[in-house]
């Protein structure tokens, strides 16, 4: 079994309203030394294939279903191979 992690984040220059609201409000609550805030989404998949095939599938899932290339980027990592 291969465990694969896909991390989706916004491309640089795309404003994430959720992150900027969080950032702003942390400042209001006194955490005012935070320079920047980003929010990402992580998916974990357990594949029964070998690592190579699994990576290909994960890439296809990310590109076709999980992201819009206009605003998002993704990073795929193998986090376990048992």
């Amino acid at each position: 079994m291969v465990r694969i992690r896909i991390e989706i984040s916004y491309l640089e220059g795309v404003e994430d309203p959720e992150a900027s609201t969080l950032h702003h409000n942390l400042g209001v609550l006194g955490y005012d030394t935070i320079e920047g805030t980003r929010i990402m989404k992580i998916y974990e998949f357990m594949f029964s294939e070998d690592a190579h095939t699994a990576m290909g599938m994960a890439k296809s899932i990310a590109e076709n279903l999980l992201i819009n290339p206009v605003i998002n980027k993704y990073e795929i990592t193998i986090i376990g191979d048992e």
């Binding site: 491309l11 220059g13 795309v14 404003e15 309203p17 206009v70």
Partner: protein, 770 residues
């Protein structure tokens, strides 16, 4: 490259005086200006006459100001010709500022506007649709009005054909568009109450997202989109400025290419969490009389807003671009000037009021900064770190080219009568027809929207008894805390009819909106159009546009309705395929006492069912014909005289409380209309159409021709209703009874189905898509 900034280039100039045509075009493309060769030559000529070369900021500002989106270069001539002067005595502002303003009564007015956000929604549906809502809210807000209702008309692919290369998957797109509207509208606290949904493969890869808004404003609070004179302070309030949305207008002014990565720079995401307090802050400062003029930053950003506000106020402007709050450091002055970042408003104020405005903004936690002032002389001067980066006369900036692009009107005089053969079984034909995306209930979409927040929604998009709801003909919004005035709102466009004939199809669409409002008991009051067309460089597309605009003019002159605002979106094409002409109409109506408003669901058994208005039984332009694959039929002319009579009589009957329910016959014809009335309460009906006309049965139940309204009338009131209708065509076709849909024709029971069974099909029609 956009992100590489060499500071010395801010102040230097670009040599264009010795560029030949090819190099000029290359420059336009390289800088993303989207200007054509004639326009580039005009620029070269202007600067050589001035004896200098332009700065980078100047060229970018020109590309922006002369874009189709900002200066309406292809449409202006025809809009002026056909829609100019369409005002009534109750029109306060028409086609002048960011939104139209119309008087309701006394000192109360409503502001309204509708705009397209098609191109951004095609590549980033969630952000595109959300910022469409955000933009239209600001258009209403900048008139000084409190937004009370959001309207969304969507024309989307149906996912039944193959996905076009490089474009987004239809299901993804539909869900994300609806999600964008839901998340923005619901979070900003303004209800999404009306709209239109059409699914067809014509819109695959080229979705249309038209967002509208209605607001309420008292006479004293109306603000114009202009500075009050010289030496006024310009304040930029709301969101920070970033690189998002750069070249959005240039991007909207050309054809989409099916490589999403190419379109990246023009995408923006909205932030309703900033917008909500911004609305409060602006309205508070405005009602305190601190703001002299304001404008929202939409397409064209600061460049459009500041330029137009100063010019309209008879002034020029001096703006310090380094005073603008930025999301990212190292932005070039031109990027700041034309950025289309969301949630920003430009205000003008007297110097003495600036501090008070600041206090209000701070209380609402809104970023704001003084960025410049209005000055005498109609020039726009831009500074960056005290150095001039642009100095141009406003009149030149706004003197965008005007094209009377060629078109032809070659009318086919031969009438084509289409006649799809009768189905073997009318029952199963109806079941199948009802399950189509365009006939089925739109609950899966509507139920995602908050349509009651603020508590002003008198008639919701969903009406009827609990668990048996149906669609209303439009929304009705309460106007104020005193009195019972209501505004009826409806929006849409009949694509099947538009495909057959852009002129008659537009009249058809307008009359459908008109009958929607009558069915609510509202008196049609004002029109806004969002005109969505293909590539205007093609003669046939320009013809569609001209005919459609002419039809709006003719319709409104006849029915005495003002056209108070509008928007044009061209270049809705993909790989050479243009969308069908889509003039989306936003029509509002007034009811002086909303307690008398009508809804479509049947109210009781054994009431008479009457159909008012005439029909030729023609199937041309009907959704039924289009669905069966019968195109090319000739549409009937709509009798506008009859439409006016219909309005007068239906409203008269309603004034006398003679009607239980009413619903207009529109997409799907009589069959779908009467079923929708039945679905709202579960009460069935028995109709006998033998004497209704001498047409075939399928024409009787599926034709959409004419102006017709179905009315449910108590037995004791039938005579009174017939008397009010007098000479006008009205037929009694049946009665409300039982729990079945029964339709007889020439002594044969051709439709015999359980209402609950049909409703189930209808309610779940969209389940496979959203």
């Amino acid at each position: 490259m956009m992100n590489k900034v060499h500071k010395e280039s801010f102040y230097g100039t670009l040599k264009i005086s010795d560029l030949d045509q090819i190099s000029l075009l290359k420059l336009s493309e390289g800088m993303g200006l989207s200007l054509n060769i004639e326009e580039m030559i005009r620029l070269r000529h202007y600067f050589s006459k001035m004896g200098r070369e332009p700065t980078e900021t100047e060229l970018q500002a020109m590309g922006q100001a002369w874009s189709e989106h900002c200066c309406y270069k292809s449409s202006k001539v025809y809009l002026k010709k056909y829609l100019g002067g369409l005002k009534t005595d109750y029109t306060v502002l028409a086609m002048e500022d960011d939104a139209g303003i119309v008087k309701i009564e006394g000192e109360t007015n409503y502001a309204l506007k509708m705009e397209s956000h098609n191109h951004p929604s095609a590549i980033e549906p969630y952000g595109g649709a959300a910022t469409g809502v955000g933009g239209i809210l600001r258009d209403i807000l900048c008139m000084g009005a409190q937004p009370i209702a959001v309207i969304d008309s969507l024309y989307l692919g149906d996912g039944k054909s193959e996905k076009k290369h490089g474009m987004l998957n239809t299901k993804f797109l539909v869900n994300r568009v609806v999600g964008g509207i839901r998340d923005y509208g619901n979070r900003v606290g303004i209800p999404t109450v009306a709209g239109h949904l059409y699914f067809g493969n014509e819109f695959e890869g080229v979705p249309l997202v038209n967002a509208g808004c209605v607001g309420i404003v008292k006479d004293k609070d109306i603000r114009r989109s202009r500075v009050g004179g010289n030496d006024e302070i310009l304040i930029l309030a709301g969101g920070k400025t970033g690189r998002d949305g750069i070249h959005g207008v240039n991007f909207a002014s050309r054809t989409l290419v099916s490589d999403v990565a190419e379109n990246r720079k023009a995408v923006q995401l909205g932030n309703p969490i900033i917008k909500e307090p911004l609305i409060h802050a602006i309205l508070e400062a405005n009602s305190a009389g601190l703001i002299s003029g304001m404008k929202d930053l939409g397409g064209g950003g600061l460049s459009s807003a500041a330029g137009e506000m100063c010019l309209a106020g008879g002034s020029g402007g001096e703006i310090h671009l380094d005073k603008v709050f930025l999301k990212e450091s190292n932005m070039a002055p031109w990027e700041i000037w034309i950025s289309e970042s969301q949630e920003r408003m430009l205000l003008s104020a007297h110097e003495k009021d600036v501090e008070k405005i600041s206090e209000i903004m701070e209380r609402w936690d809104i970023d704001h900064s003084v960025i410049g002032k209005s000055v005498s002389g109609k020039r726009m001067k831009l500074y960056f770190e005290d150095k001039i980066v642009m100095d141009l006369p406003l009149e030149f900036l706004t003197s965008g080219p005007v094209y009377a692009k060629p078109y032809f009107i070659g009318k086919d005089e031969i009438k084509h009568w289409i006649q799809p053969p009768d189905p073997d079984n009318f029952n199963s034909d109806l079941e199948q027809f009802l399950s189509d995306y365009n006939n089925s209930s739109k609950f899966n979409v509507i139920r995602q929207y908050d349509f009651t927040v603020r508590g002003d929604t008198v008639i919701k998009p969903i009406v009827g008894i609990p668990n048996r709801e149906t669609h209303s003909d439009g929304a009705v919004m309460r106007v104020s805390d005193d009195g019972y005035y209501g505004i009826g709102i409806t929006s849409g466009c009949n694509i099947s009819a538009m495909k057959e004939d852009p002129y008659l199809g537009t009249i058809f669409s307008l009359s459908r909106s008109y009958t929607n409002l009558i069915s609510l008991g509202c008196n049609p009051h004002s029109v806004v159009d969002a005109l969505n067309f293909g590539n205007p460089d093609k003669m046939n597309i320009m013809s569609q546009f001209v005919e459609s605009v002419k039809a709006i003019g003719d319709f409104c002159r006849k029915t005495i309705l003002p056209v108070v605002a509008g928007n044009v979106s061209f270049y809705n094409e993909l790989e050479g395929n243009d969308i069908p002409p889509t003039p989306n109409i936003l029509l509002t109506g007034i009811i002086s006492d909303y307690r008398r408003v009508l809804t479509p669901e049947f109210k009781g058994e054994n009431n008479a069912i009457l159909v008012a208005g005439s029909s030729s039984g023609n199937l041309a332009g009907s959704f039924y014909a289009s669905k069966r694959g019968y195109a090319g039929g000739s549409l009937d002319k709509i009798d506008l005289e009859e439409l006016l009579q219909l309005k007068e009589r239906v409203l008269n009957c309603n004034e006398h409380s003679l009607l239980e329910s009413a619903h207009d016959i529109s997409t799907g014809g009589l069959s779908v209309a009467i079923l929708e009335m039945s679905f709202g309460s579960g009460i069935g009906f028995r109709l006998d159409l033998s004497g209704y006309s001498d047409e075939r049965f399928s024409n009787k139940i599926y034709s959409e021709s004419g102006n017709r309204i179905i009315m449910e009338v108590r037995e004791e009131n039938v005579e009174k209703v017939l008397k009010i209708f007098g000479e006008m065509e009205i037929s009694r076709i049946g009665a409300t009874v039982g729990k079945k849909a029964e339709i007889w024709n020439d002594a044969q029971k051709l439709i015999d189905l359980e209402i609950s069974h049909l409703r189930n099909i209808w309610e779940h029609g969209l389940d496979g898509l959203i």
